[in-house]
């Protein structure tokens, strides 16, 4: 593996990790913008804009864009989170430069009114789809409840009202502020030629003008509020608990990630043995969600309505025991093995590698070879995790439940 980096005079950062034995290459444009960078009037604009980039440029229509990707057999897509919008494609090496050039071109979209109006329908369908997906919906609602007035509580999709009220002009203004070269990173991994990759990006993006871009970077304790919404369409109780976590820049992030596996991995965790193995809950998991300058843990539990008191009592007991007794060496070893084998499996694919490569630069401004992460995970000791448990106090959390409406 060979790492390369360069910065264009307008601030656009290019990074690459070359693996000549890979059968494919992956390229991604990482934009430091998401729902936390929005105001209430334009809530959902980052995600809507992600859709609009596929609608083309002044010289390229939407159907031509899709054809251009498909003609090269690219597996391509994009996603928007609270703080990032990422466009990516995985391709055979011979198409890498053409696909990189296509993405670069799309980063300066036409944002046409008629495309904007048509795509509103698709966005509203996406909102409706997630309304019918309680596993997603409950986590989204709980994050919003947890963050209260902090911008990380903003919904990524927005609401039907905010989407209906949004104008194409508002989107254009937001685009001009956020898609500045000094607010983006272009990353490439797998089998590719660094020099030709840089030349391709520079030719397309070298004349983009930098902007002053900022982001509110305060941390937040969390509201620790509790709410429930009953829906006639639901059969099970879906519960999300959000704890305050640590940020993507925090050195304790490796301990946090191991802690989430010890507490709530799909198999073999404390949740698993106390809840799922005994069929008290059908699903119980904990995930660590590091963000820019802040972070959360979110827990997801699914059970019958009648089973809720027992499930919550057991969960409270698990958090209490962790605070009192900490974790064991044996638990940590197992969690470490799981993380290490995930790292191996994920990083064997250029596409899997691309995401870590891009985010390490976005959050830390540094390149981290896989070996550094392996080393950092190996170095975490029991006491480090136990200190984190005491600092975070898992007994206090924000709770949101979605479940059957009262009869």
């Amino acid at each position: 593996m060979q790492f390369k980096q360069m910065t264009l005079s307008n601030g656009l950062v290019l990074i690459g990790e070359i693996n000549p034995s890979a059968k494919t290459a992956a390229v991604g444009f990482f934009v430091r913008t998401g729902s936390r960078d929005e105001t209430p009037e334009i809530n959902g604009v980052s995600h809507f804009l992600e859709h609009m980039l596929f609608k083309g440029t002044d010289s390229l229509g939407a159907l031509e864009v899709n054809e251009a990707f498909d003609r090269r057999g690219a597996q391509f897509n994009a996603f928007t989170s609270e703080e990032n919008t990422v466009y990516y494609a995985s391709v055979l090496p011979e198409y890498l430069l053409e696909i990189t050039e296509l993405w670069a071109e799309l980063m300066r979209p036409a944002l046409r009114d008629d495309d904007f109006d048509m795509e509103k329908n698709v966005i509203k369908e996406e909102i409706a789809m997630y309304e019918d997906t309680p596993t997603f919906d409950v986590i989204d609602r709980c994050r919003t409840l947890h963050y209260g007035s902090h911008p990380c509580g903003n919904s990524v999709l927005g609401t039907v009202a905010s989407i209906d009220g949004m104008t194409a002009d508002q989107m254009r203004q937001y685009f001009a502020r956020r898609y500045a070269p000094n607010n983006m990173v272009v990353a490439c991994s797998g089998n590719f030629d660094w020099g030709r990759f840089c030349a391709t990006v520079e030719a397309r993006c070298g004349r983009w003008q930098p902007q002053t871009v900022d982001r509110l970077l305060t941390d937040f304790e969390g509201t620790r509020a509790s709410e429930r919404l009953g829906k006639p369409s639901l059969n099970r109780e879906h519960i999300c608990l959000v704890h305050t976590g640590v940020s993507a820049q925090d050195p304790r992030r490796f301990a946090a990630s191991l802690l989430s596996l010890i507490v709530g991995d799909e198999f073999g965790s404390r949740f698993y043995w106390a809840l799922v193995d005994k069929a008290i809950a059908e699903a119980a998991s904990m995930h660590f969600g590091p963000l820019d300058g802040t972070g959360i843990f979110y827990n997801y539990l699914r059970c019958s309505r009648a089973g809720v008191p027992r499930v919550m009592e057991i969960v409270a007991g698990i958090f209490r025991d962790l605070l009192r007794d900490g974790i064991s060496e044996d638990e940590l070893t197992k969690a470490r093995n799981k993380v290490l084998s995930s790292l191996v499996i994920k990083n064997e694919l250029p596409m899997g590698r691309l995401v870590d490569l891009g985010f390490n630069w976005m959050y830390l401004g540094q390149y981290r070879p896989v070996e550094d992460d392996v080393e950092a995970v190996r170095a975490v000791g029991v006491e480090e995790v136990n200190t984190l448990i005491r600092e975070l106090d898992l007994s206090r959390f924000t709770q949101y439940s979605l479940g059957p409406a009262a009869a």
Partner: protein
Amino acid sequence: MEQKTDKYVLSNGMVLLGEPMGGVESVAFEFMLPAGAALMPDGACGAANVISDWVFRGAGGRDNRQLGDALDGLGVHRSDSVGSSHLCVGAALESSNLAEALTLHTDAILRAHLSDEEFAPARQLALEGVLALDDEPRQKVMLELRKRFYPAPLGRSTLGVIEDLERLDAGRVREIVRTRFDIGRTILSVAGKYDFDAVCGQVESLFGACESLDSGAVQVGTRTGGYTHIPSEGAQVHIGVMTDAVPFTGDDYYDIRVATSVLSGGMSARLFTEVREKRGLCYAIGARYHSLKDAAGIMCYAGTTPDKAQETLDVIIAEFRRLAEGIGDEELERAKVGLKSSLIMQSESSGSRAGAIGSDYYMLGRVRPLGEIAERINGATVDSIVAALKRKPFESFTVVTIGPREVRVE
């Protein structure tokens, strides 16, 4: 595309397949046991789902907790699933732990404790999974669609049905394990970094003494088909549509795969363009080819708000029918490139290769080299596809909807 397949057949009939992959440290394996949902006795729909959990609740010299801890200690990523024909148990892991992981899985397959005490939670979890399906209409509509499309019992729900699960007892399910875990008809596939001689030696010592059973085949009944609406007060109408296609083993297989890619391969394919890009009817829309050994279809999903449901279904059906009228040269080329490119991308993952070679062997009795697949895809032409679609036209559609409004189906 360089590729090699290792193969070893035990005297009892069990088949071991391997595909070595360069430049990887991981390995993945999968046991395909002939104990899928369609092979469960009548009145025991869901038993395979219970079994896939129960066999890991203590096996060999380890109790439930010890077996779980041992698997966790190896850092394995477990992947257990129930399909129509097979119950699959497998894992992906760092290659140095392969031998130990195979030993633990063999315990679960041959020496599971299957205790009464552990049966109750295994069955309860299966029941809870079926109840939770009501909250996931996108997943439920496709299970309901397969149930009605395939002749019974091939399309049976792999999760099970409440009435059957409630009636199951430990004794009955133990008997199913005894008669259906037929090692002589089991396929084990391995892909990634491994030493084939070592794996053969180990598998011979683990399974060599097992005798083949006469576990019998499925008696196929009739198809329900038609249109079914399941009322629900959700935000969208979830639409599932399925129509006949030649199976994996059929002569026209590659023509139909390319045709499906024209319909729904990438974002420039017809369904995405007509339903989403031009009309804004849906966010999620897509179709894929789905094949069992002797029956196959193209299955399509769309989710849309109630006012748009009828138009969405009408556009989908019209697009299926329009395929036989002809295909443009460029869209044919895009469909082929897309299929070939995803083939290469999947070949980079040990997990997806282990699954693919096992499934090839079950369907065809051999593993197709990637080069052969690419060549057959290249061989499809507009004429050959249209001829294949005329030999087996999309005549009838099985349709299921879940949501607040019904649609009309001609």
